[in-house]
Symmetry: C2
Subunit: 375 residues, 2 copies
């Protein structure tokens, strides 16, 4: 574990005090708080901000979950860039979400938290950028749900982003939608769920949801390499007893158990829904023209063994962007780590990100456009 | 749906009255009942019996779940063969299993049903063959857990089988073991489970287990083709409401729900365990020599899109058999239907099975050896 890297700034930005923030799918939030973290010197790097968007269970503290990319000579070099992380709406790590107090009822939102979307998040993030005086991002970078935000940034505010780097992200396919549903169902099935008004977490259901997710995050090859058909390392006998576990089962149970201590069940549901609902405009949608015109550089990276966002689907998305006139490029990260490849293959990812982020020509364009107003 | 095909004989065979049937993993059963079904005329076809082994939720009534293979010109032609189906020990369709009365306690076995294996099943099936006067099977055919029984027959009683046709079967890999564990965990998490002593089924847990299994039985391509990102056909709105479902989620819930009406939760656990524990002898095990000497013809069929038993693993198993000297052949069934390909691709499977079952040279050998005593 590398030494913990602390943000220069960690703060809450609260807006929509007078006018409610209208949500795309109906309903509203008022006010809205975004927890954000900045690594580096924003004043010095206001035209060289890299927004790093987090995945399902991440937080604004980018260096907590992607530490391997921070440092001199690495993509998140705070001498060159200011790195900005923003916690998702719906999460339980500081931004407005189900655990937040609902000003209307006086109690927490809980299951009454409205459906928020990736689009809602990106619109709220744009308000934070205004507040911070960031006219245009040098880059947005993210994987999984983070990649969805990255692409939403490019599609919605193309003039505010120079480079958009999305890893292992495409609209969720039917199997992914089914798996997310089964995860939510596991939480709903837990009697401790109590319609979302639990005092104590629905621990079994949330653990089951996390365990199911974990089995989709790695490739079958990696699971075989790590666990094969070995009995659980604690000495249980999976062959002779009904409840004796194999090693892989012990791993999944453990991952489920520790997750309950750090994540809220209502937030899990809100964010898995966020993932489900995200999609991109249909082929031929006129929106693509505005994006194409902006010159935003879109980098899509598929992970060869990704079970959740198959590389072929990421590549197809890149093709769709190209047909829409967007400067999109597809690259493949060869990895046995499945969807988790974005965390596990940080060395090769760092190399790729270094080349993209350092591209001076686009960087200059970014500076030149930095006065462009928000969409 | 083809017209229902009725077995000529459907009966229970009960043995181990005086001596208990010792189980491989410890414990015993006394007595043991096997529910079996025969299609065709056993007296006329005693040397042309095809044993068809069922998968997780199947039964002895082969024509109920594989009707497309029955008929003139089809593999299960009762003019040519007697088709024998035997319900698995541990099941809830007639053979001894958790719902059966435990003679020791006077109540049902329930969660006290011992761990039974594929090997236990095949040994019990051999006792039924003795009872029926079947010295040697013309063929064993099965898919999934059915394929495991087929291969266990070839490995354990090679002189009693001429042709062994196993479809979509290999020792379960780490992901498969993990998925089975999560399914059992879903049942155990249901408060209606009551340690296995339920009066009413743990319906939510069993439905969740079945739904999770169903998502592994088809290929992602097929799910995309069938459901894509469409809202549930009943009109729910998955985009604006937290509990609104996509079509794929409605399908999975429905599959889970109807399963609860036809399958017992303790049996589900027993049979998923049966699947977990099955393996083949290690490379170089001397057992392979006896199998090789018997001349049994092993046909392994991988399904190209199988998520649970990847075609590459089925092929690797065939290679292992070949290195052990066994006459094994690997074929691949190209299908988008995933593991369910053995049911969905009955037309092409019928063609393949016809050629294997009709092979006269091996058929003759079978007849010639039909006096060979049981192992």
């Amino acid at each position: 574990m590398p030494e913990s890297i602390q943000p220069t700034v960690e703060a809450d930005f609260t807006f929509a005090h007078t006018e409610p923030f209208a949500l795309e799918r109906g309903g509203q939030l008022q006010p809205v708080t975004l927890r954000y973290a900045i690594y580096g010197d924003l004043d010095r790097c206001r035209d060289r901000v890299v927004l790093v968007c987090h995945a399902l269970s991440g937080s604004a503290r980018v260096a907590d979950w992607w530490p391997e990319l921070f440092g001199a000579g690495l993509p998140f070099d705070i001498e060159k860039f200011a790195i900005l992380g923003i916690n998702l709406l719906g999460s339980c790590y500081g931004s407005t979400g189900p655990p937040s107090p609902n000003p209307v009822t006086g109690r927490k939102f809980g299951p009454e938290f409205p459906v928020v979307t990736i689009g809602d998040n990106v619109r709220a993030q744009a308000a934070l950028l205004d507040h911070l005086g960031i006219a245009k991002l040098h880059a947005t970078v993210g994987a999984s749900i983070g990649g969805m935000q990255v692409l939403e940034w490019a599609l919605r505010f193309p003039q505010r982003v120079s480079k958009a780097v999305a890893i292992g992200a495409s609209p969720l396919n039917a199997v992914g939608l089914g798996l997310n549903h089964l995860q939510r169902r596991a939480i709903w099935n837990d009697p401790m769920w109590k319609g979302g008004w639990y005092d104590e977490q629905p621990a079994k259901g949330l653990a089951a949801a996390r365990a199911l997710a974990m089995i989709t995050y790695k490739s079958p090859e990696l699971f075989t390499e790590r666990y094969s058909r070995k009995p659980n390392r604690n000495g249980e006998d999976p062959f002779s007893t009904v409840d004796g576990r194999f090693d892989v089962a012990g791993y999944l149970d453990y991952q489920g158990k520790i997750f309950v201590n750090r994540f809220d069940a209502n937030s899990y549901i809100a964010i898995s829904k966020l993932m489900d609902t995200w999609d991109v405009p249909a082929e031929g949608d006129p929106k693509y023209r505005a994006v194409a015109k902006s010159g935003v550089q879109v980098e899509l990276i598929g992970i060869s063994s990704d079970q959740l966002f198959p590389a072929a689907e990421v590549e197809a998305l890149s093709q769709r962007f190209i047909r829409g006139g967007i400067g999109s490029r597809y690259s493949e990260l060869k990895s046995d780590h499945g969807h988790d490849g974005f965390l596990a293959e940080s060395g090769r990812l760092a190399e790729f990100l270094n080349s993209v982020l350092a591209d001076a020509s686009v960087n200059k364009a970014s500076v030149a456009h930095s006065g462009v107003a928000a969409d």
